[in-house]
């Protein structure tokens, strides 16, 4: 399979702070790669290098077989970017925003209404974007990222802080774009979202990618599957977690069943959060 994005030993430092520390990865054509990590891990700096806003201080980036250092303009005509911060022209209408950005890609006419409809936005809305809700603005930003039918989409925290309806619309569109063949690079805090949308997930911490694989492989390899048991012990309710990998778990379960009044018992699958804690020793929110 061809690689749509290849980052090789890229690094970037802000004065004393090394934000991205010699990382390498690739994204296959039509693949969704989710990059997870806490604030300050280096996700946004990595994204800025991939979209050509920052020049890597070391290493190289190739997108669609073109070198970012030499073919930046060509690359940027083939990618779509949605930023975390709302950076629309607030004084213009939604359709005017889309038409203006489409014109920068050389498109004389785009079906702005169709794009707005796809994002669940009213197509005939004439009022300025300044009057839009946060969720509507974010959906419009995704629509803007699609005006040039990009072959690679870069999305920085696309659903962060959104209402469930807006978040779900955006997730649906990401899935649709992937089905249409687009490659997607996604940064997010949301483990569930990354698990659901990504073909592969990378964990970033302190400027380095500490793990990169499919969600299933990562959870299987580094997560912990547990059996959770709640039982009455005297007057109080006790809850215990038993590792499914521990050979002693079977006998322990037998003992609990024999000796206590078990209220409920269920298995819990490993999560990406567990994987993250495994690598960093802390939760994503910390």
């Amino acid at each position: 399979m061809d690689h749509s994005v290849v980052a090789k030993d890229i690094a970037y430092s802000y004065t004393e702070h090394r934000a991205v520390d010699d990382i390498s990865f690739h994204i296959d054509e039509g693949e969704v790669l989710g990059l997870l990590g806490p604030n300050g891990a280096g996700k946004t700096t990595t994204l800025k290098m991939l979209i050509g806003l920052l020049l890597p201080q070391a290493g190289s980036i190739s997108i669609l077989d073109m070198d970012m250092a030499h073919d930046r303009e060509k690359i940027q005509s083939l990618i779509g970017v949605c930023f975390e911060e709302k950076n629309l022209y607030d004084e213009m209408s939604a359709a005017a925003n889309l038409n203006f950005f489409a014109s920068l890609f050389g498109s004389k006419h785009i079906d702005a209404d169709r794009l707005l409809e796809k994002m669940g936005l009213p197509p005939d809305r004439k009022d300025n974007v300044a009057n839009f809700s946060k969720g509507m603005k974010q959906r419009l930003m995704i629509a803007r990222a699609l005006v040039n039918h990009p072959r690679v989409l870069f999305l920085d925290e696309p659903t962060d802080g959104l209402d469930p309806v807006s978040a779900e619309t955006i997730r649906r569109v990401i899935t649709e774009e992937k089905e249409l063949g687009a490659t997607v690079f996604l940064t997010t805090h949301d483990m569930m979202e990354a698990d659901r949308l990504s073909d592969r997930v990378g964990f970033m911490n302190e400027g380095k990618i500490v793990a990169l694989d499919t969600p299933d492989n990562l959870k299987h390899q580094y997560g912990k599957r547990v059996l959770k048991v709640r039982y009455r012990s005297g007057e109080k309710i006790t809850e215990r977690e038993l590792s499914l990998e521990d050979p002693q778990t079977g006998s322990e379960v037998d003992r609990i069943l024999a000796q206590h009044d078990v209220r409920d018992m269920h298995t819990e699958e490993a999560t990406l959060e567990d994987v993250f804690i495994h690598f960093t020793g802390r939760k994503l929110e910390e």
Binding site: L53, E73, Q76, V81, F83, N87, E91, M92, S103, L104
Partner: protein
């Protein structure tokens, strides 16, 4: 760099909804300043030059002069009063018509007229007043009148009115708001609103953005600058003035772009302008205060814009006297272009 993409950015700025307040300021401030200065110091409401006239004898010429719409005629009772009125700046020009003038004109004889010229009067006013006199005498004479004007300057010859001395300041304001502040504030606003990032991940390149806002600022500065000079009745030697205005506007736009690249927010831009604005306006002060050592003015780069504009628009001087200043201005404009190219990449990384 793509001209088409830069043009799209300019179009969006001008037509895309609510505009940057600096655009309105660039259009309004020079005219506001002109109006205030003219109202306080100038002759804004008095367009016609005033001609003080004494005519001896039967006073046949004064009534004809009074019918001439180009001048306001102030008849006097004596030749001495003509001089006094001009000295007191109540008239731009004064003229004494001898009692035998009509006879000399009829006989096609040479006549000499004493003309008092106010040292602070505008050159335009002097020309209009004397043309009105010649025109009137021609009407009174069956022949081409043979007249000599014995000119006597009253007051300091090269002295200027305050409004004229403040003209360079107004022109500098014009070019500063249009040329400097528009590119700087547009760039800073794009950065503050993060829309710059959105532009720079499309095929739009940093140089396209700089070219768009530089062009917008410089063009506006030239247009408003020309209008300001017209408004101040100082539109002399148009080709040379346009050249100087264009170079000055481009220079200011280049500096505005550099400021826009380095300064991170609008508040800092205004704070810096308060601190360093004197370096832009400084040479205008040296024109207002001619007793200051004028060589200091030459240390300011804007001297090479302000000074030629002043000499051309007020004194009608040409390239022979301001050529070296214009050449230095051109060189400064070219040199200031270099940092734009070097710093353009910095736009994306801020």
């Amino acid at each position: 760099m793509s001209v088409a993409r830069a043009a799209k950015l300019v179009r969006r700025t001008l037509l895309g909804g609510r505009r940057n307040p600096m655009l309105y300021a660039a259009l309004a401030v020079p005219f506001l300043y002109t109006l205030i200065i003219q109202l306080i110091f100038g002759t804004f409401w008095q367009q016609e030059p005033t001609l003080a006239v004494f005519e001896g004898g039967r006073r046949a010429i004064v009534p004809v002069l009074q019918r001439n719409g180009a001048v306001r005629v102030a008849p006097t009772a004596s030749a001495g009063e003509v001089k006094r009125i001009v000295t007191e700046k109540k008239a731009d020009v004064g003229i004494v018509l001898s009692a035998d003038l009509a006879e000399k004109l009829s006989a096609n004889e040479q006549a000499t007229l004493t003309v008092y010229i106010g040292g602070e009067s505008l050159a335009q006013s002097r020309a209009v007043a004397l043309a009105a006199v010649v025109d009137t005498l021609r009407q009174q004479s069956p022949h081409v009148p043979q007249i000599d004007f014995a000119q006597k300057y009253v007051g300091e010859e090269q002295a200027l009115s305050i409004s004229q001395m403040l003209l360079p300041f107004i022109v500098m304001v014009t070019v500063f708001f249009g040329g400097f502040m528009i590119p700087a504030s547009m760039l800073i606003q794009e950065r503050e609103k993060k829309t710059l990032d959105a532009l720079l991940v499309t095929p739009v390149q940093p140089l396209d953005v700089l070219a768009a806002y530089g062009f917008l600022g410089a063009t506006l500065a030239i247009l408003v600058g020309v209008l300001t000079l017209l408004f101040n009745q100082s539109w002399n030697q148009p080709p040379l003035l346009i050249l100087v205005m264009t170079l000055g506007a481009i220079l200011m736009a280049e500096w505005g772009l550099v400021a826009g690249i380095f300064i991170k927010d609008t508040a800092t831009l205004f704070a810096n302008m308060k601190l360093f604005g004197i370096f832009l306006y400084g040479p205008a002060l040296f024109i207002v205060f001619p007793s200051w050592p004028q060589w200091i003015s030459r240390l300011f780069p804007t001297h090479y814009f302000i000074y030629p504009v002043f000499r051309i628009s007020i004194y009608r001087e040409g390239l022979s006297s301001v050529g070296s200043d214009v050449a230095i201005l051109g060189a400064l404009t070219l040199v200031s272009l270099l940092p734009i190219f070097f710093l353009s990449r910095r736009l994306a990384s801020l």
